[in-house]
């Protein structure tokens, strides 16, 4: 019989205590009347019965509880909506941010054994470049001398004009050495990878397509292998197609060609353009590789002191190839969303506590009437579960909306193909966290009600519990205030940083200037005269357009994303040559009128002119920083220096320009005449960016500019057609998104904390109605009562403020890297955050305080 009683535990407790005794008696009665195999049959029947009817009984209760839950929540829709929104907000915000962070920071890269992949950089920190690309000669020597790498490969950007098949277009790709793809450990889905003889000088061109280019340009033709395509006028044979999730080195790369380095490329060790990737031998750590390459760099510095002196090696895991800024921003957002979740959970807990306290008497009555503790607990659990589930639904909606917005924060510098999605596992985890909060808070009062029984009906017992609950709620509210103050300070700091960056002078005017790229394919345009004819034709036609003030061509428009490297050593005549103190400059070739078009002030001398031909003296216009670096305190006009394979004389000085964006320091600039460049030299620097200044909104010129370029050369694609305002704005997009998201979090946190204060005070006023009434009857006036209520609010707000400021100090230190020079202790940020928090606390206390003042002493005393 004991076995059968054990079996009865499958049924809900309430059912068992009601019918268990009779069921056991019935079972015993039947058992007595049978013997032999019939006993086994009876047991079999009993077990099957327990399984089906037991489950059914549970289901009956759940259905009943759900009905009750919907009814009780419907009776107080305000509570239900608040609880669901609060938990939804927490769940949504946290899931969305964690999804991005997981995608960018945590998940391994999509290559086999990706933790063994490292990036190899030259370290020239002494002149501000801790991560500099490698020259072909140094790359070759590094790989040959290394003892820690199993294999290695290198790549460089390779964007080309794709002609044939409609409008010519500009396509981003990469040139890679034959061993790069093997080093990454990837395979082609169609065809094959490059072989060693394909990346030699003189080899015929070969190209591997990305799935997306194969789809868009070849209609996923399975017979694409062997086709020849023309990239920048040169033929390339298609030898393979990569899988859809393969992205390297950036998301934009649509194809890969074999890099064919010529013997000449190995001459100049200061010509750095290779991005090298290595695969560590099994068991080798990144630290061991660092030691290995430091040794190699020291050895090469000894062998080639001119170019390699003071040059070290920077080895980083490929997955850590993220700027400190991106990493900090993501971590800050994650911490902020965790804050929101904390506030949401504590707010939910506070709401449920208040509700439970309000229902204490009802629970006590139900217990007194014989409702088992199990039934009450189950009922409370159902309410919490329903709230959490509804919150999760709201959270999913929120996360689906938020992830694409947040995805703009994911840097494109990592070889990760697709943009992140809402992560199901994270959603589940966060929902469970919220549900556990809700359940934890929901069950406590139920258990207490069960234990206290009828005693809970007594007033003093109630008062005791309610003061405990109030203390707990006050702590929760203080936590909320602290978290929201921390968030407010951090967003204020970031907002200040954004303003500071946006307020920086780029050195040129951004209004009413249109920029466009027309990449000139080599070798067709390798003769300087051919290019000059093209510029003349386009610029003359553009200048004749109505409303155009001026137009010019330059190698790279400032803040162009095409710009990588492009820094050259400057040799001054008459100065001693010390390679480690060599001054460097960014080189730009320009046509006349560039400075006027861009609004860059000409401080001394003259602009580059049409007359600055190859036959005339070779000249340069330099930036102020260039002049200050090379001839401090002296006039630079008439001075000569060697740059870009020729001696140049300074004829003008212009203002400094933030060529590398508002947040990075920019090297001094030397602007050279577009006509004063030897044929076939520096093709990468041939002017290709057109800038047009107009008297009206310049986007209206786009159609005309396209037509003019098409007439000058129908094979040239136009890309990056945008206003300078948009170009500079794009530089700030991640920062703006960051600030918007954080400020959003902070506002939500602030509102929630305000609601928390309001809820707690309102509740405590309603509990103390009688006490307040008595005080008023004994002569307390409105200001006394106001003081009574506001003092509590002030204590919670003050404690929260202090704690929050403490957290903010730590957080400010953590995000120093993205503060753009704003001090983490910035008093304006702290002051405005504190002001907002006090405002929020005041607003939260207003209604309860007035309610307390308007209590009628007579009614209050009679009421109880």
């Amino acid at each position: 019989m004991r076995a059968y009683r054990l079996l009865l535990h499958v049924y809900p407790t309430s059912f068992r205590s009601e019918y268990g005794g009779e069921m056991a008696a019935d079972f015993a009665a039947r058992r007595r009347r049978i013997s032999g195999p019939a006993v086994a049959a009876l047991w079999f029947e009993a077990i099957a019965d327990a399984a089906s009817a037991g489950l059914g009984a549970h289901w009956d209760i759940l259905r009943q509880d759900l009905r009750t839950t919907v009814r009780t929540l419907g009776r107080r829709p305000g509570f239900a909506v608040a609880a669901i929104l609060v938990s939804g907000l927490g769940i949504g915000a946290t899931t969305a941010t964690f999804s991005i962070t997981d995608h960018v920071l945590i998940r391994p890269l999509p290559f086999p054994d990706s933790d063994r992949l490292v990036s190899l950089w030259q370290d020239q920190s002494y002149r501000g470049y801790p991560r500099l690309e490698l020259s072909p000669a140094n790359y070759r020597d590094w790989i040959q001398m290394s003892t820690t790498l199993a294999s290695a490969g290198a790549s460089r950007g390779f964007s080309v004009n794709l002609v044939g098949g409609g409008t010519p277009e500009r396509v981003e790709g990469a040139a890679v050495t034959a061993d790069l793809l093997q080093t990454l450990g990837v395979h082609a889905t169609l065809g094959r990878l490059f072989t060693a003889d394909e990346d030699r000088a003189g080899a015929s061109g070969t190209v591997i397509l990305s799935t997306s280019m194969w789809r868009t340009h070849f209609g996923s033709d399975p017979n694409v292998l062997g086709h020849t395509i023309r990239l920048d006028d040169a033929p390339y044979t298609v030898i393979g197609v990569m899988p859809p999730d393969f992205t390297f080195p950036r998301r934009e790369a649509l194809f890969w060609v074999a890099m064919r380095l010529a013997p000449d490329d190995f001459q100049d060790r200061s010509n750095v353009f290779l991005h090298a990737i290595g695969r560590l031998k099994p068991g080798v750590t990144v630290d061991q590789a660092r030691a290995d390459f430091s040794r190699i760099a020291a050895e090469l510095a000894r062998l080639y002191p001119t170019d390699n002196q003071r040059t070290g090696a920077t080895i980083v895991g490929l997955h850590d190839e993220l700027s400190i800024g991106s990493r900090t921003a993501l971590l800050a957002l994650t911490a902020a969303s965790a804050c929101v979740l904390l506030i949401a959970c504590s707010n939910l807990a506070s709401l449920l506590l208040a509700r439970a306290l309000g229902r204490q008497r009802e629970l006590a009555v139900r217990t007194a009437l014989g409702a088992g503790r199990e039934r009450i607990v189950r009922q409370m659990l159902t309410v919490s579960g329903v709230l959490a589930a509804a919150g999760a639904l709201v959270g999913v909606g929120l996360a689906i909306v938020a992830v694409p917005v947040l995805a703009t924060l994911a840097p494109d510098s990592l070889p990760i193909a697709e943009l992140p999605n809402v992560d199901g596992r994270l959603l589940a985890l966060v929902t469970i966290l919220t549900a556990v909060t809700a359940l934890g808070v929901g069950v406590g009062p139920a258990l207490r009600a069960g234990r206290a029984g009828v005693a809970a009906l007594r007033d003093d017992a109630r008062a005791g519990t309610s003061s405990r609950t109030e203390r707990l709620r006050a702590t929760l509210v203080t936590v909320q205030v602290a978290a929201s103050v921390a968030l407010l300070v951090v967003s204020a700091l970031l907002l200040r940083a954004l303003w500071r960056v946006e307020g920086r002078d780029p050195g040129f005017q951004t209004t009413r200037v249109l920029a466009a790229t027309t990449m000139l394919p080599m070798p067709r345009y390798e003769a300087t005269a051919t290019r000059w004819a093209f510029y003349q034709r386009v610029l003359t036609a553009v200048r004749q357009l109505p409303g155009v003030e001026s137009a010019a061509y330059i190698s790279f428009v400032p803040m162009s994303t095409d710009l990588r490297g492009g820094i050259f050593p400057v040799t001054l005549d008459g100065h001693p040559q010390d390679p480690t103190t060599t001054h460097v400059a960014g080189v730009r070739f320009v046509t006349p009128d560039f400075f006027r078009t861009m609004g860059i002030p000409l401080h001394q001398g003259r602009d580059i002119a049409d007359a600055d031909t190859a036959a005339a003296p070779w000249v340069a216009v330099v930036s102020e920083s260039f002049a200050a670096q090379n001839w401090p305190g002296e006039s630079p006009l008439g001075r000569t220096f060697d740059l870009a394979f020729h001696a140049r004389t300074v004829v003008g000085v212009v203002g400094n320009v933030a060529v590398r964006g508002l947040e990075r320091s920019s090297e001094p600039q030397a602007y050279l005449s577009a006509q004063q460049i030897l044929d076939r030299y520096m093709p990468w620097f041939a002017p290709k960016d057109l800038v047009v200044k107009s008297t009206f909104e310049p986007t209206a010129l786009a159609g005309d500019v396209r037509r003019i370029v098409h007439e000058a050369d129908p094979d040239l694609p136009i890309s990056n057609l945008q206003t300078l305002e948009a170009l500079v704005g794009a530089d700030n997009v991640p920062r703006q998104t960051q600030v918007r998201v954080l400020a959003g979090f902070a506002v939500v946190a602030c509102l929630l904390a305000g609601l928390g204060i309001h809820g707690l005070l309102a509740f405590s006023v309603s509990l103390r109605t009688r006490e307040i009434g008595l005080r008023m009857a004994f002569g307390a006036d409105a200001s006394d009562i106001l003081g009574l209520v506001l003092r509590r609010s002030a204590v919670m707000a003050g404690a929260g403020l202090l704690a929050g400021a403490g957290v903010a100090v730590v957080a400010g230190q953590g995000i120093r890297a993205i503060l753009a020079g704003v001090s983490p202790f910035d008093w304006i940020a702290f002051g405005s955050a504190a002001g907002l928090a006090i405002l929020m606390a005041g607003a939260g206390s207003l209604v309860p305080a007035f309610r307390a003042v308007r209590i009628d002493p007579l009614t209050a005393i009679r009421h109880e």
Binding site: Y19, A25, D26, F27, A29, D49, G56, A57, D60
Partner: protein, 123 residues
């Protein structure tokens, strides 16, 4: 569990009755019975074709109590019938109304079936 039992709408809202519920109603139609007696009565009435399991029986009783179809006897039945470990159930007025409504429903169903070839026509 008190509810107005004279409402025919409320009765028809419970139809069709689960077979176990209908059998239990028939078992307690004439006299109050305890659970085990109900089980035996159902088995006897159907010549053993229907046997209610313990779980099904008491889950049904619980639901029927909630619905007001049966009620627990406060006073013990007459001497000799009493088994003091057990609780006795009897049908309520509402239970009778529901049972009658179910009989009418089944009768109507049979009448419709007779119009087809499914059931022998009444002679």
């Amino acid at each position: 569990m008190g509810r107005p039992h004279d409402d025919t709408d409320e009765a028809s809202a419970l139809l069709p009755l689960p077979p176990a519920t209908f059998h239990i109603l028939m078992a307690v139609a004439d006299e109050p019975r305890h659970g085990y007696a109900i089980m035996q009565d159902v088995a006897a009435r159907t010549n053993g074709a229907v046997t209610l399991s313990f779980g099904t029986l008491y889950r049904s009783i619980q639901r029927m109590l909630d619905q007001g179809l049966v009620e627990e006897l406060r006073e013990r039945p007459a001497e000799g019938h009493d088994d003091e470990r057990r609780r006795y159930y009897r049908v309520t007025k509402f239970g009778i109304a529901v049972a009658k409504a179910e009989v009418r429903r089944l009768g109507e169903l049979i009448r419709l079936a007779r119009a087809t070839s499914f059931a022998p026509r009444r002679t």
